[in-house]
């Protein structure tokens, strides 16, 4: 029973750490940033989350990125509020906003909220720079970091068991 549960757990953890090429890691960080910065009480955050899950990116890194940038989002709120206010009060686009706002589910998206729009814009602007930076770090520091993690007993315990379970099944 213990080995059965352990096998399933190992499979799940492996799935999470799958897609671990530097490119996929970088996309995970960038997308996680966009999701993390956006306030979570609206449909926009849900859509972004679904998008994150749909794409073939490293989910573990994406999850870490979402958590980290959620905290960082609290610090960017004053700036994002100003940006969002400027965008939402832009006169030439008012009729467009009016038409969009009256669509069904539109109020649930939160896109009439200054912080949501502002953080979304910040996320989109910062997407490529964060991707590039993350890819660079992943390429440079990824392999040494992987080697270091593989020395941990937890990692060995989790993935070393694979040899024992295969031996038992034989």
């Amino acid at each position: 029973m213990f080995f059965f549960v352990l096998r399933k757990l190992r499979f799940f953890v492996a799935a999470l750490r799958d897609n671990d090429s530097p490119r996929q890691m970088a996309y995970a960080v960038a997308l996680g940033m966009v999701v993390g910065l956006t306030p979570k009480d609206n449909l926009t955050a849900v859509v972004l989350g679904v998008l994150l899950l749909t794409l073939r990116v490293n989910l573990a890194m994406a999850a870490l990125s979402v958590v980290a940038f959620s905290w960082a989002g609290l610090l960017t709120d004053p700036v994002s509020h100003r940006i969002g206010l400027a965008v939402l009060s832009f006169e030439p686009l008012q009729s467009l906003y009016h038409a969009l706002y009256n669509l069904p589910l539109a109020p649930w998206t939160g896109l009439n909220n200054t912080v949501v729009v502002g953080n979304l814009i910040i996320g989109l602007i910062a997407f490529y720079p964060v991707y590039r930076l993350s890819r660079h770090f992943s390429e440079k520091y990824g392999p040494p970091l992987r080697d270091r993690i593989q020395r941990y007993k937890v990692y060995q315990f989790l993935f070393g068991v694979n040899a024992v379970t295969r031996w038992r099944s034989e």
């Binding site: 799940f12 799935a15 706002y101 909220n113």
Partner: protein, 581 residues
Amino acid sequence: MIRWKYLAPRLAVVTSLCLFWWFGLDHLVRWSLISTGQSVTGAKVEISELKTSLANGKLRMQNIQIANPHDPDRNLMEAREAVLYLEASSLLKRKFVVSEGRLSGVRIDTPRETPGALAATERQLEIARQLAELGSRWLEHFKATLQYHPEDNLETVRLAKEMLERWPHEYQDLRNRVEALDRRLAKLKLFVDNPGNNPLRNLEAFENVLAELDAFHQDLETFHGEIERLKLQLPRDRDTLLAAKERDKKKIQQLLALRHPDAKTLSEYLLGPENGGQVAQILGWIQWARQHIPASLEDIGPERMRGFNIAFGDEQPTPNFLIRTLAIDGEGKIGGDTLRFHGEATGLTTQPATFGQPAVFRLTTDGPAKLKIVAVIDRTTDVPWDRITVDCPAISQPSRVLGRPDQFSIAVSPSNLRLHVELELRQEKVSGTLRLTQEGLEITPQIADAYGGERVNGYLQSALCDVHEIDVELDLAGTIDKPTWQLRSNLGSQIQQGLALVLQSELDARRDELTGQLDRFVDGEFAKLEQLVQAKQQEVLHKLQLGDAEIAQLKGQVATRVGLPDRFRRAEAPLRELLRR
């Protein structure tokens, strides 16, 4: 081939979300409603169970309790169950619009220890007492009038006392003077009886005696004159006493005049405390409701967490939260009695200005007394404007006592009461009318002993036997905290005449009694005076007569001593002149 490594984690996340949605949505909505309710009321909100059904937009809550923010030991409202049907189209626009709902088992202001009557403010109760005071003052004046004892203030009594003191003094004075004369006469008699042996010296002495006798005679004449004067004084004193008696009778008549009670004073005295208390109770409920329905609702809503929501103008502006129709049933306490009610509320919203229509409550009580209440709570403008109408065609009214049993009261027999209240409140100002009509009743008056007692009760009962209806109208004005009211009723006018007649006859009897006493007093005192004067006069006259006889005798003796012939003794000239001839 299925790529489980790609699918498994994503399926796990989606499954978690679905499970969370399936099991956690109810808890999430419950938490959301509780926090919103608490931010709106500022008090604890409890919902024991909540079930959502997204398919038909139904929300079902059980055992809802909202605590009273001003009294943590009481509940503002309790409800056994609430079922709300949300409009899907409004939900898509993030508007919580309840097309119809049902609130069952409502109980308002459920205290744990005390009954449901709200304490009216001291000011409100004071006005009810003041109304009763006005009539009470009139009754106290009547009582004081009835018990008035004027003896010490009457001119007649004072004059009679003076006379009874003065007359004996007058006669005593006369008597003293008569006694002085007696002594003088005795001296003269002594000399005449023993003149001495020297005839020449005796002659001179006799001349002096004669002069003395003449003077004595004149004094006697003066005394007679004074007695005559006193004789004439007595009838004058009697006339004075009689004139004073007439003036005193007029004074008694003025003092014992009835200050006719006006109908308004009587109505206020009898009906003021009861109706004032009821109005104070109604205003107390309104004040309580106003405390929990804020003047402005536009600012109420959940606190924004982050950022600023810009509303881009709905095509059809709808409030964020609205209950179009809510059926209500429950129970409440009015005056200590538990009444079940049912009805509906429409237009309940946190944004009345956006909605553009006031909230309307229509409630009807169950049971024999069908009380209908329509309350329009208008917060669509800056000035809160509430209209309340209460109508009850028949409330069974038990027997009760109006007025004060220690003064004047009437016992009203049981009958049906018709009630109609219309109140309007703008900001803090209140105006309106309360109308009560009670028909087919019998009244039994009761007046305390100090005001006539059983003697008067009998007359009063027959005077008021035709009163079968009481109609009361209370006009309200002022503010909720400091209301003023005017009471009008036909009760005062119905009993005014009868009461005035009976009390007037009571005062007439008292006045007759006093004037009779006065007549008897005057007659008695004057008889005493007459007796006194007669006795004293007899005494003095007797002494004066003796004096006359003795003077004549002495004159004869003197004449004999000096040898005067008879014809000169009988002469009219003074004896001295005769001696000189």
